[in-house]
């Protein structure tokens, strides 16, 4: 079994479990919608304010919902010691990281697409003219968030307060993703798109390259017991 097959097997296992339980997706979705509702009451934005604060609000929702999903990623593996089984399997441990990371990415993207749709609907926020850019930015931003999030979820899983530790460790490290994603989302809202758009997209790509390579090198140390 080559490396890609191993990654695929772990990804498929996670998708199958999620398909049967629907734990992570439902919690992320409901939470995301609740955050949107909270924002409405907290800010009562008119259309100009939505344009100004929209990108920020959207990414805050994505990130808080994402943390909720990440917390589940390794928590489920602890039940019945299934992580032990995964570690004993004849696979490279970095394959476990990549598989888990891709699974997190898929779940987050699914939840985000629904959240984005509801956000546009509730706040009368039109993304349709530039949906191609929006998809690119969402995938890049979420990839960066999932790559850092997966390794830090594995770190916090080994601590006494895993649910609390994940946001404390993850939010500061993921700050560049937030800046890049919010700025590029804001850039596609103007007509024509702001010139900073390509810059921030390049920035996100660089961040992703660094923070996918680094966890691949470090993940072995996190699992080791």
């Amino acid at each position: 079994m080559n490396f890609l097959n191993q990654v695929g097997a772990i990804l498929w296992k996670d998708i199958l479990t999620e398909y049967r339980t629907k734990d992570a997706l439902t919690s992320m979705l409901i939470f995301g919608l609740l955050v949107i509702l909270m924002f409405h009451f907290a800010f009562e934005p008119d259309s100009r304010e939505t344009e100004k604060f929209g990108p920020g609000l959207l990414w805050m929702t994505f990130i808080f919902a994402g943390i909720l999903g990440m917390n589940r990623a390794f928590a489920t593996e602890r039940e019945n010691d299934s992580l032990q089984g995964l570690m004993l399997a004849p696979v490279d441990w970095s394959a476990i990281y990549l598989g888990k990371m891709l699974a997190n990415l898929v779940f987050m993207l699914l939840a985000e697409s629904v959240i984005l749709f509801c956000f546009a609907l509730f706040f009368n926020f039109s993304l349709m003219p530039r949906w191609g850019w929006m998809v690119t930015i969402t995938v890049l931003g979420t990839l960066g968030f999932a790559s850092v999030g997966t390794i830090l979820a594995a770190v916090s899983m080994n601590t006494r307060m895993s649910d609390v530790m994940l946001p404390i460790l993850l939010l500061p490290i993921a700050l560049p993703v937030v800046i890049g994603a919010v700025e590029s989302t804001a850039a596609i809202l103007t007509d024509p798109p702001g010139e900073s758009l390509t810059f921030w997209i390049k920035f996100l790509v660089v961040f992703n390259v660094i923070f996918i390579t680094l966890p691949l090198l470090l993940f072995d140390f996190v699992l080791e017991e």
Binding site: V155, R160, I173, L175, E183, F211, F221, V222
Partner: protein, 233 residues
């Protein structure tokens, strides 16, 4: 032990020289008007911040070495450096706000450098917290080393992101192009203070490591006593 005492003495003397240089030798800053004396806090401020960055870099190096060598010694060094990073970072933040208030009229501004320094301080705090919630020492070492490396790589990226995000941050005063620059006496004072703070940092670092090693020894002794059935208070 003798070397440590020499180190302590030299730190003390360097600090005295730095105090003299800051308050008596260095000229008073003129452009800030009657509050020019306030500028003297600059030497403490820059030195504390420099020490915080130095500590973060030490955490980064020691974390890598720990993962490569799996020796407790490097874990102790990384942890001690991170603790000192919090201490000097707090000093840097406090002296910064105290200086900003009379000069800029505000305590805080979301400038690139301020924001990323604040974030670095938060990351160092998170590192402390992480160490407290892992029970097994070997695992604590590995997990905090992984976080330390990720955090150290992240910090410069955050700084650059912040710079590009809001570009109206004040240009650096020292070496910031024509017209900027320090009075030679000020520059000398700054160098002395930086040296004194670095000495102080290394001294505290060594003591902190020594303390941790002693704690390890005590723990081992206690465990030995317990296995022999003795009561340990």
């Amino acid at each position: 032990m003798k070397l440590l005492r020499v180190h302590a003495l030299s730190t003390f003397i360097a600090m005295l020289i730095a105090l003299y240089a800051i308050f008596i030798f260095a000229p008073t800053e003129r452009t800030m008007g009657f509050i020019g004396e306030v500028q003297r806090i600059f030497y403490f401020h820059v030195s504390s911040n420099w020490t915080t960055f130095l500590a973060t870099f030490c955490v980064f190096l020691c974390s890598i070495l720990f993962l490569l060598k799996e020796s407790r010694e490097w874990d102790i060094r990384a942890a001690a450096a991170a603790e000192l990073g919090v201490v000097f970072g707090t000093l840097g933040l406090i002296s910064g706000t105290l200086w900003a208030r009379p000069v800029w009229g505000i305590w805080w501004t979301w400038d690139a450098r301020l924001t990323s320094f604040f974030l670095l301080w938060l990351i160092l705090l998170a590192y402390q917290m992480l160490r407290r919630v892992v029970d097994s020492p070997a695992q604590r070492g590995r997990l905090s080393a992984v976080f330390g490396i990720l955090a150290a790589v992240d910090t410069p990226i955050v700084y650059m992101a912040n710079r590009w995000w809001r570009t109206q941050h004040p240009a650096p005063v020292i070496a910031g192009g024509p017209g900027s620059g320090l009075d030679p006496r000020m520059a000398l004072t700054l160098c002395i203070t930086l040296g004194a703070f670095t000495l102080l940092y290394v001294y505290l670092w060594r003591i902190r490591c020594e303390l941790e090693r002693t704690a390890d020894v005590i723990e081992t002794l206690q465990r030995q006593l317990q296995t022999q059935g003795m009561e340990v208070r």
